[in-house]
């Protein structure tokens, strides 16, 4: 485990690099993209376990905090989704630089999955595999409307969120993002059975994407009965698919 800061001087990002265990064949690397808000806090333990198991399976992994979140620089109200996508790209460049890996697997949870999909859909993203763990599909009307004026801030999940971030998240349309991915065979989507909705059918409208519904806990949800538990079945399946 190697905790460190990377990125530019005005956008310092905190990350933790887990090297692949010795004896692994080839150089394989993965970047983990956290969820946001309270989900980030609750899922931290599960994401760490995912990184550890990937490193045992031979992956160099980097998980990191987006600008304005966790231990990274900045305040949440100054963050926007485009900036977080740039942070993911910076993390991909960082782990490629550290490990020499030519391609990187991108694994995202919840909002992190959606942001990861947007990055992976770009040409020359350097991403050869994309894992989406219960991604945010169509948040749209769930979010409060903001007038978008400079300085306009709303408080969500206890955080001050700027108009740019709110606008970006409201505009998310994951099925449309996935339709733009050129190599759908490199995409795997994992959805907990308890979180399945009719909207999930839209994810694989073209029959090209692999969607797995798994009977598993949702570690990003605060629950006094399950708090701190690790959804080992999902983690096992993700590692198995990437191995």
């Amino acid at each position: 485990m190697n905790p460190f800061y990377f990125g530019t001087s005005d956008r310092r990002l905190f990350g933790i690099y887990e090297p692949a265990v010795q004896g692994s064949a080839g150089t394989r690397a993965a970047v983990l993209c956290y969820p946001w808000g309270r989900e980030y806090l609750h899922a931290h333990r599960a994401m760490r376990q995912l990184a550890v198991r990937l490193s045992v399976a031979g992956y160099h992994t980097l998980r990191f905090d987006y600008f304005g979140t966790g231990d990274s620089a900045g305040d949440m109200e100054d963050a926007d989704l485009a900036g977080w996508e740039a942070d993911i790209s910076a993390a991909i460049a960082e782990i490629r630089d550290v490990t020499g890996a030519a391609q990187v697997a991108l694994i995202g949870l919840r909002l992190g999955a959606t942001a990861a999909a947007r990055v992976a859909a770009r040409a020359a993203s350097g991403v050869n595999a994309l894992v989406l763990w219960d991604p945010i599909l169509l948040p749209g009307s769930c979010l409060p409307a903001m007038d978008g004026a400079p300085g306009d801030v709303a408080e969500m999940q206890g955080f001050r969120v700027g108009a740019a971030m709110m606008r970006d998240v409201r505009a998310i349309d994951l099925p449309a993002i996935l339709a733009a991915i050129s190599e759908p065979r490199g995409v795997r989507i994992f959805i907990p059975v308890t979180d399945r909705t009719p909207s999930h059918a839209r994810l694989d409208a073209n029959g090209l994407l692999a969607v797995e519904y798994i009977n598993s806990a949702q570690p990003w949800i605060e629950d006094s009965a399950t708090g701190g538990t690790v959804p080992i079945e999902v983690i096992r399946r993700i590692v198995q698919w990437l191995a």
């Binding site: 800061y5 931290h44 760490r48 966790g70 949440m76 206890g158 701190g228």
Partner: protein, 299 residues
């Protein structure tokens, strides 16, 4: 004083197994300044609920202080210990490791421990045992129930329909609490043999620890939130420990309207103000602390 601060990731402890963030003024730190050590809240990693400890670390660093926030073994990004200590003893050993590291790295004149909920309890249990600790910032620490607590607690809950439903279903917290006290009174062997936080919540143990803390000269800032389930009024900590002569070593603040996890930005900023004002009144900082700070790369 510089408004810029620097943060770096650190690994500490004998096995380099504890993960933390050291936040310091970008310029030279004040020569006689204490260091602040922020402890985990439950299983939430070092950033704290709603990033509270990031905000607090950066604000205090802007006043010239060195701040370390780190994860206990097995929490957040820290590895588990290999020595088989109980969870509580493991946390206390980790605090000692963190202070040893700070002493070698930053040579602070003294240390202030900061904790919320279980973190406050850990700060209380450790503080009086280490002469390097000069003060405690305790947010919603465990405070034994008093007669007035029961009156107010029961009164508040009797006014809520859902509490009547819980009572009828046998899920009432107050009934469980009463049963625990009754069991302890009629069956002395009920108390677990190992040192656990639950045991240390017992009144005599805590009172003795607060007595020793005060005797050692520790300054204590106790911050309570309106939604704490452990206390219902501001002076409960004084009433609960009648044999502790806190005198001017205890400052009590009540942040009205805040929930236990400081879930709104306004309450988090209020807390930062409370802590920085307290430190300034003790002569430990010289500058007021704006809640937000510009972070630069360490030199």
């Amino acid at each position: 004083m510089s408004r810029k601060i620097a943060e770096r990731a650190v690994l500490l402890g004998p096995r380099q197994s504890l993960c933390g963030i050291l936040t310091r003024p970008a310029g030279p730190a004040a020569g006689d300044a204490p260091a602040i050590v922020i402890l985990n809240t439950g299983i939430i990693h070092r950033v704290g609920p709603h990033r509270l400890f990031v905000l607090l670390s950066r604000a205090l660093a802007r006043t010239g202080l060195t701040v370390l926030r780190f994860d206990f073994s097995g929490i957040g990004d820290s590895d588990t210990r290999l020595d088989g200590l109980s969870p509580l003893d493991s946390c206390l050993a980790d605090i000692r490791d963190a202070l040893d590291w700070l002493e070698a790295e930053c040579t602070p004149s003294r240390v202030i421990l900061v904790g919320l909920c279980s973190g406050a309890d850990h700060a209380v249990l450790y503080g009086y045992t280490d002469p390097r600790v000069a003060g405690l910032v305790l947010m919603d620490p465990s405070i034994p129930a008093t007669a007035l607590f029961y009156v107010q607690y029961i009164g508040q809950r009797m006014a809520r329909l859902r509490n009547w439903v819980s009572f009828i279903r046998g899920r009432s917290g107050i009934v469980r609490l009463w049963l625990e006290h009754t069991a302890a009174a009629v069956w002395p062997g009920w108390k677990a043999r190992t040192l656990t936080l639950q045991n240390m919540r017992t009144h005599p143990d805590l009172e003795r620890i607060y007595q020793q803390s005060v005797a050692r000269g520790l300054q204590i800032l106790a911050v309570f939130t309106a939604e704490s389930t452990r206390q219902t009024y501001r002076e409960q900590i004084i009433d609960a420990f009648p044999n502790v002569a806190f005198r001017d070593q205890l400052t009590i603040e009540l942040i009205a309207g805040s929930d236990h996890l400081f879930s709104t930005d306004a309450h988090r900023c209020h807390l930062v103000d409370v802590v920085t004002v307290w430190l300034a009144q003790l002569g430990l900082t010289t500058a007021p602390a704006p809640s937000r700070a510009e972070v630069v790369a360490p030199p």
